[in-house]
Amino acid sequence: MTISTAQQHQLARCEQCHKLSLLAEHNCPRCGSPLSFRRPHSLQRCWALCLAATFLLFPANLLPIMTVVNLGSGDPDTIMSGIVKLWINDLQGIAIIVFVASILVPIIKLLALLLLMLVVQLHLPLHKGQCTLLYRFIHFVGRWSMLDLFIISILVTVVQMGNIARVDAGPAATAFAAVVILTMLAASYFDPRLIWDLEQDEDVQAVPEQPEQTL
């Protein structure tokens, strides 16, 4: 199949309205958004957001996220100890859902973004279709990490009975929310077209220099 990218024809795809226009126009003639071939500073922004999210994973997982007080007694729970309690209380299904949404998804997202950035930066010879699939997966799955935060919002409101039963949110909740937001932003800054650009670099030995966009 003939591979012919928009960039080879000096065409830039508008990020907002998806129209193709010549990059020389600087702003999309249809919606006025600034044009560029690839998302500007894609890798730098993605690295910064991923690093910040990685640091915040520690408070999010080590500090208590919720305290369930039942009949006067109750200890603060971290995300993991909460999942263990669910498992012990014969709620394995829920334990698995919370484990996937709160622990697996953020870690997998960060590792996947890290892998994709390394593929682009170090020209790792991985299958490009599969890398793109991975990207689409992390883009899709990001919002589901909000699950735990919504559950906290529901439980804190429903269970407010003084010493009989009470659910309090813990400091990890804010850190966890930050991880969710930062990883969602990181995924949206990463530009999957960079993966496919490697293919041209491999095919055509001499890569034409693209002028830095100045806007």
């Binding site: 012919s4 998806h18 226009s21 958004s33 709620l91 919504f150 559950i151």
Partner: protein, 220 residues
């Protein structure tokens, strides 16, 4: 859909799209309602392909129904928890307010955006957009901003995640005491269906092309 020949001069951009995931240049036809365009190089479902929409009204109807359901969905109690004679209920709005009160303002604002503000703005902007496209009047100069805002709020609207959260919280509480799902949860489920239909029926490219056509007729 065909691939572009490599010897082509820069094509007239309007009939071409670039794949959002791999930048492959592709020529597209206008799709009918149930067709999907996929990129032959990376398999992405192409964005920005015009869809010939026969029915404008299902989307508008779903958005209006969603707007009507929105207010009961945020103000009616979602579930009731009972333990040794004590009751507790919650609503969507109270969930935000409680978080704010107990000292989690950032969390409260995030939940506010994803569960309340974004769905509401998504519905309002969808209704406005369908209305403007349906009427004969010229589109206002703010139309591009409106479409961009519509896309933003659609992305941050997470009612489907909230619906699953209600189920998880419900099952969690089952082991601790009496718990019942109340009318609010049914309203949220119905609102979710309306939001899904609204999203499926809205074709951004059609709206953008209407704007473009108007600009060509009357340059600003």
């Amino acid at each position: 859909m065909s691939h572009s020949p490599s010897d082509i001069t820069p094509p007239a951009a309007s009939h071409w799209v670039a794949c959002q995931d791999c930048d492959q240049l592709l020529q597209t036809a206008v799709l009918s309602e149930h067709q999907r365009a996929r990129c032959p190089r990376c398999g992405a479902r192409l964005e920005g392909v015009a869809v010939k929409s026969l029915h404008r009204y299902p989307g508008l109807a779903a958005a209006i129904a969603g707007l009507i359901l929105f207010f009961p969905a945020i103000s009616l109690p979602i579930m009731e928890f009972e333990l040794i004679g004590q009751h507790g209920t919650n609503t969507l709005w109270e969930g935000v307010w409680t978080l704010w009160q107990v000292g989690f303002p950032l969390l409260a604002m995030l939940v506010l955006l994803c569960s309340l503000l974004a769905p509401l703005c998504h519905l309002l902007l969808s209704i406005r957009t369908s209305w403007q496209l349906g009427s004969e009047k010229t589109l206002p100069p703010s139309f591009p901003q409106q479409l961009k805002a519509l896309h933003f709020f659609q992305h941050w609207s997470m009612v489907e995640v909230y619906a699953i959260s209600i189920l998880v919280a419900y099952i969690k509480l089952l082991s601790d005491g009496e718990v019942m799902l109340l009318s609010g949860s049914y309203c949220i489920a119905a609102l979710l269906i309306c939001l899904i239909v609204t999203s499926q029926q809205s074709h951004a490219e059609t709206a953008w092309q209407a704007w473009e056509a108007q600009q060509k007729r009357r340059p600003i």
